[in-house]
Every structure is written in C-alpha cells, then in structure tokens.
C-alpha cells in the first residue's frame, strides 16, 4: 500500500486525503491545529461551493451540510459605473433547476472533514511541520503533498511570474451578520455580488456557521484603495460600522439590505491582505527530496472572483486522478510537474477570467460586453450562463471575451427566443 503524506488540513489537502483513503492508500495528514482549535478559531475568507464541486464532495461523502445550509439557487450581480450612476444588474441561476450553491463556514467544514478522515481510518498528526521534518519524511513516504502555503514551507515554492501577470495586492474585510433585509421579490437564499468602478468588489451571500444560517459580507479592494479602511486594525464593532459606511457610499443597494443587520456572536470579522500569484508547483527539500504543492500553495486566486474552494476542489480531484492513474510507478519530478500541468489546463483559463474581473474598470467596458449585459436582461438564459460560469470559468472563453463569439451567441439566443 502506497504511503502518502499530506501536510496541512485545509480544503484541498483534506479533499485529496479523503479521495486517496477511498482508493485504499495509506494516508497521513499532518497539521498544526486540532479539529477543536479549527472549530473555535478565527474565521477565514468566505468561500462558495458551486454545484459541480458539491457533486464532487458528495462522491466522497463529504457533504454534511446541504440540508441545513441556505441553498443558493440564484445570484444577482451589480456593476456600479463611475460617477454614482445606478448599477447595471444581472441575475442568473447558479446551476441547473435541481442544483444550488452553498457557503459553509470553514471552521465547521474543515473540523468535520478532519474528524471524519480520522474516523475513516486516516492518520492525523497534530504538529507544525518544519523543513527538517519534511526532509526526514521524504524517506518514509512515497509522496508528499504540501497544502499549507505559509511559513517556511511556503518558501519551498518560488513565485513563477511567467505563469500570470495580473497580480494586484488585495485587502479583504469581512463580517458574518444576522438580520439582513430581503431583496424585494426574491427568495431569501439569493446571493449578491458587486463590482464597482470607484472602489472594489462586494459579495453578500447566505452562509452557514456553527451558530446556524446567517449572511457573510465581503468587501475586497486593492491595497490602498478606498475600501482599504483598516490600517489601525479596528475592533469588530468599529470594523462593521465602517463597512456599512463604505457600502452607503459605493454600493447603496447593499447598504439598504445590511443597515439594520448585526454581527454574529464570537469571532465574526476578519481583515486579510493577500497578493494573487502563481508559484512553482514542485518544491525541492534540502536533501534533494521533492514535494508537490496543491491549490492555494501554488495559486493564490484574486478573492474578487470567489473561486478559492472551487479551485482547491478541482485541483485535489485532478491530483487524485493523476496519482491513481500512476499506479505503482515512482512519484518522480516528471510525475509531479505533469500532475500540475494537467490541472493548469483548467487553472489557466480561470486566471484569464480573474484578470478580466480584476481589471474590469481600468478601461471603458467593451461594447460587446455591454451588449451581453443587455442580452442578459432580455433573455434569462444569458444571465444563467453568466452566473453558471462561476461553476466552470473556462466556459467564458466560448462566448464572452471575443466580440465575434459574443455577438454570435446573443444572435443565436435571440433567434431561438423568436421561434418560441
């Protein structure tokens, strides 16, 4: 039985760990936090699980929450143009008629996945891993996958600027809140997302924490932008007050929904800085042993596009397929590089889409883009395809970026509707 070590109990590491366990591998997860420490610790940036990722989790029996979580069937997008004009709006389904998206508190999800992994026969060791540990481990295991990107282990994976050039340092402020006012005429489970010309992005999504359902509000901006209002590390109530102030200025529709909301008890706010980038996926240990980085160890996504967990699920699933198909052959440098390149076929188009979103307002909106927005208002299927692109962003290259393809698609939808 092949022995595999996974360093880090995050979303990608645990998804892969469960997948390998299901295939009969001897899997050890080593992580710095116990499940109780995860459960009671600080929040993380809120993530969405889109329908396809949710299906993948169900295949591994990892979806424990769908029955309790708000089932987000629709999302509404607001694009706030320069000059304070009213936003352009777009609504669509997050999946097919029988599908939905969920958003689960990382503390609930990772703690449960870690305990379930141990109960399923996986080995869990609680220890912050050092490079000297890893050097030793490279003799004891057939394969080491690194799933934590901070500290001295992160330094194993050099930035690879050749992969992607759209990096913009970001600041994120977030709050989990109760008593958000309904979107008139819409179901309570609808999610909202905004992109503004003058500040950054907002995401307001129904969310499941250990305290039950609530909303999670995300404000993201460039470092030093108008919504980077947290240099003095304000306390939670003050941060929440400033978040509402910023919404009243840059996204008044959002302000109207949250003006009477209040913070969820306990650790319910965060401020985080991050720089999107892509790193070399293969790390070399001092002794020459090799380790493979996964998901956000290798790719830090721009948080504007809400793809963190979609990326980590798809990366874990892609690595799992590569590992299983490799059989008993050694996990050498070529295998590790190929495993990443296979995932990157999906990852690269997602970066293109993230880059488009990151720089949306740096020039006037292209004409075909505005035409598509008008099309989405006229024909619900365009809005649906737009929102469902979050589930599988490579689809956008088939119809949104290129003016010729975009206009052909609008014409096709218009013709189909005329014959109805």
């Amino acid at each position: 039985m092949r022995k595999i070590l996974i360093v880090g109990a995050g979303h990608s590491g645990l998804h892969l760990a469960h997948g390998l366990l299901n295939h009969g591998y001897d899997v050890t997860v080593i992580t710095g936090q116990t499940s109780i420490e995860i459960r009671t610790g600080r929040p993380a940036v809120t993530q969405l699980t889109f329908p396809t990722a949710l299906e993948y989790e169900r295949e591994l029996h990892l979806d424990f929450w769908s029955a309790q979580a708000p089932q987000v069937e629709k999302f509404k997008i607001h694009l706030y143009p320069p000059g304070g004009d009213p936003p352009i709006q777009l609504t669509g389904r997050t999946g097919r008629a029988d599908q939905y998206t969920v958003s689960i508190d990382r503390r609930v999800k990772m703690a449960d996945w870690l305990e379930y992994f141990e109960d399923s026969g996986g080995k869990v060791v609680i220890h912050g891993v050092t490079l000297s540990d890893l050097d030793y481990f490279s003799r004891m295991f057939d394969l080491i996958v690194v799933a934590v990107g901070h500290g001295e282990l992160g330094a194993l994976f050099d930035p690879d600027p050749g992969r992607f050039t759209g990096a913009r340092p970001r600041v994120v402020a977030q709050a989990n809140i109760y008593d958000v006012a309904a979107d008139p005429g819409e179901d309570e489970t609808i999610g909202w997302a905004a992109s503004t010309a003058e500040a950054g992005n907002m995401i307001l999504t129904p969310f499941l924490t250990s305290e039950g359902p609530c909303h999670s509000l995300f404000l993201g901006d460039k470092r030093g932008g108008p919504m980077d209002a947290w240099p003095d590390r304000p306390r939670p109530e003050e941060q929440w007050r400033r978040m509402r102030d910023l919404l009243s200025k840059y996204a008044p529709d959002y302000y109207e929904r949250v003006r009477d909301a209040s913070l969820v008890d306990g650790n319910s706010t965060l401020v985080e800085h991050l720089t999107p980038q892509v790193r070399n996926p293969v790390g070399v240990l001092p002794s020459g042993g090799l380790v493979l980085g996964i998901a956000d160890v290798v790719i830090t996504m721009d948080p504007f596009v809400g793809q963190g967990w979609n990326h980590s699920t798809r990366c874990a699933r892609s690595y799992l397929a590569s590992i299983v198909e490799h059989g008993d052959r050694p996990f050498d440098a070529k295998f590790l590089t190929d495993a990443f390149e296979r995932f990157w076929e999906y990852g690269l188009p997602v970066q293109h889409w993230a880059a488009m979103n990151s720089g949306l307002w740096e020039q006037p909106l292209p004409e075909h883009f505005t035409e598509m927005l008008a099309g989405a208002t006229a024909y619900p299927e365009i809005g649906d395809r737009w929102i469902q692109g979050w589930d599988y962003p490579p689809d956008y290259q088939n119809w949104l970026y290129d003016p010729v393809k975009a206009r052909a698609y609008i014409a096709q939808v218009a013709a189909a509707n005329k014959h109805r």
């Binding site: 070590l5 050890t28 080593i30 116990t34 109780i36 459960r39 424990f64 929450w65 309790q68 708000p70 609930v108 703690a111 449960d112 305990e115 379930y116 141990e118 109960d119 080995k123 869990v124 060791v125 609680i126 220890h127 912050g128 891993v129 050092t130 000297s132 540990d133 030793y136 481990f137 004891m140 109760y178 008593d179 958000v180 006012a181 309904a182 309570e188 129904p206 499941l208 924490t209 250990s210 305290e211 039950g212 359902p213 609530c214 909303h215 969820v264 008890d265």
Partner: protein, 119 residues
Amino acid sequence: MSYRKRRGSRIRPYTFTGGRTRSRHPLMVQTLVSTADPSNDPPAKLMPESQRIYVLCRETRSVAEVSAELKIPLGVAQVLLSDLAELGLVYIHPTITGNSPSENQVLERALRGLERLFQ
C-alpha cells in the same frame, strides 16, 4: 429577514456514531505513549527508528521525550508513533486537553496519583 439569531439553531458538529473502533487521542507533545507488549522484541520489518521507539517505550514516555531521546524531529516522532499505534504496537494514553467532555477523568487521575503518593 429570516437569518437571525435564534436559540437552538446551532448546528451539531460532525459525530461518528456507527462503530468507531478507536477513541480520538490526539498525539500532542505531552501525550504519553508506551509499547503495547513490552516483553516482545520489536518486529524486524519495522524501520530502524520505529524499532528504537518500540524499545524506548517499554517504559511510558511522552512524545517529546521520544523525540529528544532518539534525536529525531518532533513531527517525525509523531508520525512514527501514529504508525506504530495503527499497527497496535504502541498504546497512546488519553491526554487531558482541557476540552475533554468528561472532566471526571482528570479528577480520577489526580485521585489515583494522590493515593499512590500516600500508599
């Protein structure tokens, strides 16, 4: 306005009820470990480090002691011990973490310790 603070809306953490075979004793630095059958020699198929742990733990040791005594990194000692426990060769003693649902355990251990002192 339906997502509001409500008593009893807390979601229950995952619990595995159908036939868990071992209790969850996390291997912490201070966790005590001992060889399950101290009179036996270590199985020859074990890695040399694991054999040394097997011999050392004929007397109960903490994970930190095992690491220091055998000069292997702490994380490595934990992984080797977890493998030995999986094979049933090493016993991991329950550690009082402060999060234990039954603090009686703590009191009983203290009581037993006091009894030993005054025997």
